[in-house]
Amino acid sequence: MSLLRINDLKVHFPIRRGVLFDRTVGHVRAVDGVSLQIRKGQTYGLVGESGCGKTTLGRAVLRLVDITEGEVLFDGRDLAGLDGESMRRERKNLQMVFQDPLGSLNPRQNIGSILLEGLQTHGIGGPAEGEGPPEGRKRRALVLEDQRRRVVEALERVGLSAKALTRYPHEFSGGQRQRIGIARALVLEPDLIICDEPVSALDVSIQAQVLNLLEKLQGELGLTYLVIAHDLAVVRHVSDVVGVMYLGGLVEEASGDDLYETPMHPYTRSLMSAVPVPDPRVEDTRERILLAGDLPSPADPPTGCRFHTRCPWRQEERCDTERPELRPVGDAAGGGTHRVACHYAEQILSGEIRPNEEMAERIVHGAG
């Protein structure tokens, strides 16, 4: 059962020119036709380089940016069609953990007030409708007490104590701030948490603490995650399913192990080969595919396959003109969930199509 299902999602930002006349001269196609689904209790990892649209995708799910086209089905309801007020109510089920833990916490609010805010906005806590004392001071006290209990519980889940309540964000270290950001998402008891680069601002040793915490919380609370990150090693470590994005589109999607063992899209292969491994023996012997050039502008994406301008395996004609669809590959019998957007994925995998030496320097460091 998929909790979140995204169908052909598009987010285009207009480029405007002119002082007197606000003309739209083009669009940045930040997300351009992405379809994916996330099953309940699983972690979906979205990986890609800066400018590939992964953050915009995450924000579009929460409707923090306007959706140009497509559907976002959360538990069967289409979020894309909701009006502002209904969406606001829906957000208690979808929470976000942001990249910059200091920037996403109000420096003038203490932790207690930051964490209570969501509960108060959504009117969570206190005795159920029709129970307990009616409106009045007594009821308000009960509500506040219950909300406080929830906040403390969330703090304890992330490894902080109730003493944090009266403190301010600047009094905490980076790792602790990120824990507070996670507690803020948890306190509303959401079904889905979108983590946008949850650890990239943290030191290595703290990163591991936060990653372990996210995993522990998922085990305890049955959370569903959408983890967005640029670090393939981090994404693979936490995710059940990994999606690789390039220039606004999903180019490959597979289970973490599948993707590592048989990456099929040329972009995934080069991305994988570029990730450094902390082991000199591996570093010295493995093959590296160095891509030439930079990411093209999403305002003017290449025709056909988005990757064809940098692809070492590019073939004549078809790659330049026809945009490949994300299609299932491999053995469907073995629970085949491997999808790839490349016309020649199988031929490249079997070695039938050789890479073009001019497009990429292939470097194989000899052993020793």
Partner: protein
């Protein structure tokens, strides 16, 4: 130059910030290492360990006031040797750019946004090589071409904001290598870049070292980058080197608990999935002064009372932890030292399992304290 005399020998470098009533901060506390021709030396550590301050001190870029720099950094310069820490500003200006160069982390903020790339590159050629006009422009275009910037003539006329991140870093490297410096310092040169661009830049740096024989000091927090590039590695913690080794023994048999912890904290792309990470508990703020004992003790799983009996010395790793599978570990620098009285033995690294809860408890205490 024989390889026995290092190009730059840094000995007991220390940098102290402070004065005016506030507590002194010993950012760098007795760091020693050498740079040799055609070799890459790495300084690794988390934020706050003093790695960037070390590089600024060597380049003479620290402010004069409120900073005390100690130790020595003797560099081979044309016509003898010079201690970089004691040279006059004027003499340093001559050396910077011509004999030593630096590549910074953030390429956008280290380029002047209102000056075209061409002017910024030719500035160095003018200052150090006395080139003018079209000769300088031609040389600048050649430099950009050498670091892999396509269409260099056009790029020379452009401003930094018109270049992509990877291209800016290349332009910076072009400026750094303009006078063929013998020592290059790269301070987190790829941290702001995407992995595919990072791979390009690392390859470029590697080529510079092997082809030109430049000595490179690589400062980074990324152990993956270190594994691929550095020959000798210094792991810093709280201003001191805690472990020091050629790369093969360091990664095969790390002995300091901090190094072991760092390696256990990184999710590896080639590791089987589902293995939990073994992080170091607490944060870099949980340390004690080196004078009282090992600064890492509060976060260490192996510490005993012995660790708190004064500062531990940098000692050679016991014969038991010999060099294994040593690819490029031959040479004079094949020495593995650490600053620890309770090092991790080979067997421990395998079955080391950090308890889950102490990490949270450690942070808890800090929040309350």
């Amino acid at each position: 130059m024989s390889s026995s005399t290092p190009l730059l020998a840094v000995d007991e470098l220390s940098v102290v910030f402070g004065g005016h009533g506030s507590d002194e901060v010993r950012a760098v506390d007795g760091v020693s290492f050498t740079l040799e021709e055609g070799r890459v030396t790495g300084l690794v550590g988390e934020s706050g360990c003093g790695k960037s301050v070390t590089s600024l001190a060597l380049m003479g870029l620290l402010p004069d006031r409120g900073v005390r720099v100690g130790g020595s950094a003797v560099m081979q310069v044309p016509g003898g040797t010079a201690d970089l820490l004691k040279l006059s500003q004027r003499r340093m200006r001559d050396l910077r750019g011509s004999q030593m160069a630096m590549i910074f982390q953030d390429p956008l903020s280290s380029l002047n946004p209102v000056v075209p790339i061409g002017r910024q590159v030719t500035e160095i050629l003018r200052r150090h090589r006395g080139m003018r006009g079209s000769a300088a422009a031609k040389e600048a275009a050649e430099l950009l071409d050498r670091v892999g910037i396509p269409d260099p003539e056009r790029r020379l006329r452009e401003y930094p904001h018109q270049l992509s991140g990877g291209m800016r870093q290349r332009a910076l490297i072009a400026m750094a290598v303009a006078c063929r410096p013998r020592v290059m310092i790269a301070d987190e040169p790829t941290t702001a870049l995407d992995v595919t661009i990072q791979a390009q830049i690392l390859e470029l740096l590697k080529n510079l070292v092997t082809e030109e024989g430049t000595a490179l000091l690589m400062i980074t927090h990324d152990l993956g980058v270190v594994a691929g590039l550095c020959d000798d590695i210094n792991v810093l913690y709280a201003g001191r080197a805690v472990e020091k080794a050629p790369r093969a023994p360091l990664f095969a048999q790390p002995t300091h608990p901090y190094t072991v912890g760092l390696l256990g904290s990184i999710p590896r792309l080639d590791a089987p999935r589902g293995e939990p990470l073994t992080p170091i508990r607490g944060s870099i703020n949980d340390n004690i002064a080196w004078t009282r004992g090992c600064a890492f003790a509060p976060r260490c799983d192996h510490y005993t009372m012995e660790c708190l009996q004064g500062p531990p010395d940098l000692v050679a790793v016991g014969a038991a932890a010999g060099v294994e599978g040593g690819g490029g570990s031959t040479g004079a620098a094949a020495e593995h030292v650490h600053r620890c009285v309770n090092p991790v033995r080979g067997a421990d690294t395998a079955d080391r399992s950090a308890p889950e809860s102490p990490a949270a408890v450690g942070e808890d205490e800090e929040a309350q304290g």
